[in-house]
């Protein structure tokens, strides 16, 4: 969004071209280069950028990992993965050119010598490929490796840049596991890189539909006057998955749904829905407004958690007619695990716009369908004219995934001689209206980081404020005395009954997805 981040003067040949400016040449160093993220997401995303002509003329990729392998072996592995996971078919001639600039650097993350040789290698690549000393370090390794990596990067002088070049670091979530660890992680990163050099990636923000929330709200004058407590009765945000923990059981069992999804993805979506209009589209203007939303979240006292937050764990059940095991029967999950796979919350944003408007959020695994949606429920029209039992309300739904789009439920008269009113839906589907496939979130985010545009990345204060809000809930759950219960729900249902009660107490129900 902040296209002008590195463009003090415009390039006159760029004027009128619909494609965005190509970022500066650079070397992308991926720590954890043999892992899943690199193979499934990062390299396919970079390949797609290259195929679409969006990468700079000189860009090199250096994979940094422990295992012994040659550049050629690494390229072959990545080619195989890209052919499998890329959104567009791999073309041999493009891959050949792209692969020429992929290199492998073998080292332990804690081996100082490995970083010294990396520095020399990067200088050599700069000379050979014209990457101009620009470096983008991507941390795709486990979070416990961040500290040694950052320490050694600094020791090798790789966090510093010559005049006119830059060094940036992309950090994958989780950004800590609580406020204290997030602060510690931020401190460790700040020892080597400034906040301006740090890009905390949340792939939800790279999704086209998440970005469209700002366009929907601020480019359509009809919504602005209605987007407040006077017209909105409540808001629901749902992130449902049919999947269980799959291969992430080890991580998930330590983390749970609240930390894995609510602290980052759901609160980020809430920020986009609830923020005030920014003064411009620069990254800090947008993030300034987002952080105000998180700061305004009403903090729960420990005694209020049970009434406002419900946690659940899936038991045995069936998804799409296929029986599935209970969470505690999954491989690598402790049989007596108390980890939540479902969370429902009722939140309030204590600011002028949203005071007393309940925000209901739910996130869960092994739910009947996979869908991430935001719904804005408007207050009912006065029923004096038509009928006292006019029960339906206008609902604006923003579908984040899948079947991205927007729908609006309105009341309409049923044809006939009587005055019967029924809700109807006006529906916009991205896939129907726009034939062109959207780029993957990682494509957009990698390109933004290369261009120095941090708009779609989380800032330190956003992350810490979010943890401060989450920590109270976590602490209450883990308290030895009076901890609210963990409720079980059959896989394939919409969560425990207590989640329905959360809304029923307010005279509401979850939207049917």
């Amino acid at each position: 969004m902040n296209r002008a981040a590195e463009q003090p003067e415009p390039n006159p040949l760029r004027e009128g071209l619909s494609a965005r400016a190509v970022p500066q040449p650079c070397i992308i160093v991926i720590f954890g280069a043999t892992g899943d993220l690199t193979h499934r997401k990062l390299i396919p995303a970079l390949y797609n950028l290259a195929a679409d002509g969006d990468l700079p003329p000189a860009v090199a990729i250096v994979g940094f990992a422990r295992r012994e392998k040659s550049d050629e072996e690494f390229r072959t592995e990545l080619e195989e993965a890209t052919r499998k996971f890329s959104r567009q078919a791999v073309r041999d001639e493009i891959w050949r050119t792209f692969a020429q600039s992929i290199f492998y650097h073998q080292s332990e993350f804690g081996d100082e010598a490995g970083y010294e040789t990396l520095a020399k290698r990067l200088d050599k690549i700069d000379k050979e490929c014209g990457t101009r000393g620009n470096r983008l370090f991507y941390f795709a390794a486990a979070p416990d490796q961040f500290e040694p990596i950052l320490k050694h990067l600094k020791a090798a002088g790789l966090n510093e840049t010559c005049k006119g070049s830059w060094a940036r670091v992309i950090v994958e979530k989780p950004f800590g596991t609580d406020l204290a660890s997030a602060r510690e992680l931020n401190r460790i990163v700040r020892n080597s890189f400034t906040e301006e050099q740090t890009y905390r990636i949340d792939h939800f923000l790279g999704k086209e539909t998440a970005q469209n929330i700002l366009v929907l709200r601020f480019a359509n004058a009809i919504f602005a006057p209605l987007w407040n407590r006077h017209y909105i009765e409540h808001v629901q945000i749902t992130a449902a998955e049919t999947l269980g923990v799959e291969t992430r059981a080890g991580f998930y069992d330590r983390t749970g749904a609240l930390r894995d999804m609510v602290q980052n993805h759901l609160l980020q979506l809430l920020c986009l829905v609830a923020m005030e209009p920014p003064i411009d589209l620069s990254s800090d203007s947008i993030r300034d407004e987002k952080v105000k939303v998180v700061r305004s979240l009403r903090r729960f006292a420990q005694g209020e958690i049970a009434a406002n937050v419900v946690r659940g764990q899936y038991a045995q059940g069936a998804i799409n007619g296929k029986p599935v095991a209970a969470y505690h029967q999954e491989p690598n999950v402790k049989p007596a695990s108390q980890t939540e796979t479902f969370v429902a919350l009722r939140l309030y944003i204590d600011d002028w716009r949203w005071a007393d408007v309940p925000i209901y959020m739910r996130v869960g695994k092994r739910l009947p369908k996979s869908a991430t949606e935001i719904s804005i429920h408007f207050k009912k029209a006065p029923a004096v004219l038509f009928s006292k039992d006019l029960t339906d309300q206008n609902v604006l739904v923003i579908r984040i995934q899948p079947d991205e789009g927007i729908s609006l439920r309105i009341q309409a008269k049923v044809p006939g001689t009587s005055f019967r009113i029924e809700p109807v839906k006006m529906d916009f589907h991205y896939g129907t209206s726009f034939g062109k496939a959207s780029p993957e979130a990682y494509e957009r985010l990698l390109l933004d980081a290369m261009s120095g545009d941090a708009t779609l990345f989380a800032r330190r204060d956003e992350v810490e404020e979010a943890w401060a809000f989450i920590d109270v809930i976590e602490h209450t759950w883990s308290a030895k005395k009076d901890a609210p219960g963990l409720f079980f729900y059959p896989a394939g249902s919409w969560g425990p009954d207590e989640a329905d009660d959360l809304l029923a107490r307010d005279g509401r129900a979850w939207r049917r997805l």
């Binding site: 006159p12 040949l13 009128g16 071209l17 000189a58 050119t97 896939g431």
Partner: protein, 352 residues
């Protein structure tokens, strides 16, 4: 569902006054299995024989990426007797998610004889309300331009490469634009043809450290295919307009001479060679040569920079395609006014 155009037929022939009701029937028959989509009214006008069938094929492909209400008009003004025939059809494809059929509807008209004057009324009666109206005019414009029609057009799409007299045609288009109080955006597919090569050249100069090279450009060479001199000329006009060069003179052998702001001469050589519309562009400054050339595999551009004669690492970029479906798809993806195009045209108008 006979009107669903699976084999690019014109579909179901209908009476002129019953087009709307027949369209309604068509969608009622689909019983919710298909979703009608439309983002734009796209009217296509051609006087070429057989154009209705040919344009139906093009629309079927264009509609896969650009849902529209298509109004395809084939006209034969030379016939003495009036005849108007109409057909309706739908172009359907499976959505990206694979879950439903997305359909664009097409209304086709065959106009013969003096009734071609009825064009505006026919078009106006069948526009999908509140959607922008794009008119793709194939071939040459004729005088007089119908004021009523042009006042409604949001974007007029044409291909100046096919024009015999650029000056006269451009005058007609510009006067229509003036009468429409500048509402019409002029979209020249000959300009769209240059989109990818302009992008490929522009990206060399995205880094502020490269800006100083603009002032050092000595000369350039543009290779173009037979019939595409105007395309090459537009490219030269674009470079000149954006870099503040003005035309000095034409020298023999296809060389145009420009003067930059400091009065230094810059020669642009236009060289004809069989191949793609624009085969290669070389921009020379004293230390660096910038090259954008068609790669051997055809639909990619090979882009490189370096000292003349030194070994380079070329980058491959999408080249786009010269077929009308690709050009139209590119054009429909764009928005906003084409000021840069008009500046380029004005820079070389007298040479076109």
């Amino acid at each position: 569902m006979a009107a669903i155009a699976e084999n690019y037929s014109l579909g179901l022939q209908v009476e002129l006054g019953k087009i709307d009701s027949e369209l309604k029937k068509l969608w009622a028959q689909s019983e919710g299995a298909m979703t009608r989509a439309s983002l734009v009214n796209l009217a296509v006008y051609s006087e070429a024989p057989g154009s209705l069938e040919k344009n139906t094929q093009l629309i079927a492909k264009i509609a896969e990426n650009h849902a529209c209400r298509a109004i395809v008009i084939g006209a034969d003004c030379k016939t003495k007797e009036d005849r108007v025939e109409a057909w309706i059809s739908a172009h359907c494809h499976i959505s990206r998610t694979g879950s439903k059929q997305i359909c664009s509807e097409q209304i086709s008209f065959l106009l013969e004889g003096p009734c071609t004057d009825l064009l505006p009324s026919i078009v106006f009666s069948h526009l999908d309300s509140d959607l922008p109206f794009y008119l793709w005019w194939q071939g040459e414009f004729r005088e007089p331009m119908d004021r009523q029609l042009w006042a409604w057009v949001d974007r007029v799409i044409y291909d100046s490469q096919t024009w015999k007299d650029f000056h006269a045609q451009m005058r007609l288009v510009e006067s229509a634009q003036m009468e429409a109080k500048q509402r019409i955006v002029l979209c020249d597919l000959n300009w769209t043809r240059l989109d990818r090569v302009r992008f490929a050249l522009a990206q060399f100069f995205d880094h502020p450290a490269s800006y100083h090279r603009f002032a050092k450009i000595k000369n350039a060479r543009i290779e173009f295919a037979p019939g595409f001199r105007s395309t090459a000329m537009l490219f030269a006009g674009w470079l000149a307009a954006q870099l503040n060069w003005r035309v000095e003179k034409t020298i023999g052998g296809g060389v145009l001479q420009f003067l930059n702001l400091s009065g230094r001469k810059i020669d642009i050589e236009l060289r004809e060679r069989a191949g793609e519309p624009i085969g290669e562009i070389i921009l020379n400054s004293p230390e660096v040569e910038f090259v954008v050339a068609r790669a051997k595999c055809g639909d990619l551009l090979e882009v490189s920079r370096g000292k003349p004669g030194e070994k380079r690492m070329p980058q491959l970029m999408p080249a786009g395609s010269n077929d009308p479906v690709s050009l139209m798809s590119e054009e429909l993806m764009r928005g906003g006014p084409h000021h840069v195009y008009l500046r380029a045209v004005n820079c070389v108008r007298d040479l076109l």
